[in-house]
Point group: C2
Chain length 119, copies 2
């Protein structure tokens, strides 16, 4: 493996070790990195495709795909013209985008109560 894919994969391995040991992972921003031709494909091939994929439709489309390496997620955010705005690899047991913020739960409880009282 040439180019910058190998150093990135070593960084991901270190983040996985950290996640396994301490529960704390991290992320690598791909946009802005000096990726050489072929680096991107080498990275995709090394990480593989997992069984879980998610889409978040808010201010454009964000795709969140677990790779074949459990705990490693490929996150791509596109704008409304489908252009890639940010792309990152997140090392975590669950990306924050897949978790409901705590404050939204209270609001949802209140909304549902109001709806039930209106009926």
């Amino acid at each position: 493996m040439n180019g910058n894919a190998a150093p990135l994969l070593h960084e991901i391995a270190a983040l996985l070790d950290s996640l396994a040991r301490t529960g704390e992972g991290g992320s690598v921003q791909l946009n802005g990195l000096p990726l050489l031709p072929g680096d991107y494909e080498a990275l995709q091939e090394a990480l593989g495709e997992g069984e879980l994929s998610a889409e978040l439709q808010a201010l454009g489309l964000t795709q969140i795909r677990e790779t074949a390496l459990h705990g490693v997620w490929w996150v791509t955010h596109r704008n409304s013209a489908h252009e890639v705005m940010t792309e990152s690899i997140e090392v975590t047991r669950c990306p924050a985008l897949l978790q409901t913020p705590a404050e939204d739960v209270s609001e949802a409880a209140q909304r549902l109560r109001e709806r039930l009282q209106a009926n």
Copy 2:
């Protein structure tokens, strides 16, 4: 709202209150419940559609969709013949299906290290 949708929605509201207060939600299994004609649709209409949806491809397809009520997820598991096997509404900040099990993270770290050493 007639039938069994209203009691189910009250149960979901109670689970949302619990999730907001204690961090502990719960789930309601839909299959096996005595849903009357129209109950299912009333439930779908009351919960609405959210911005996040996910698919897990393992032993058939599982769809995990956040409803318009944050913290309320509609989870449908189909077998390989696309028949609905289980269907539930989960009240949680993040369904367990969207979280990588801790033991899988150690295994992923090891697999990536081995792959990097082989190159």
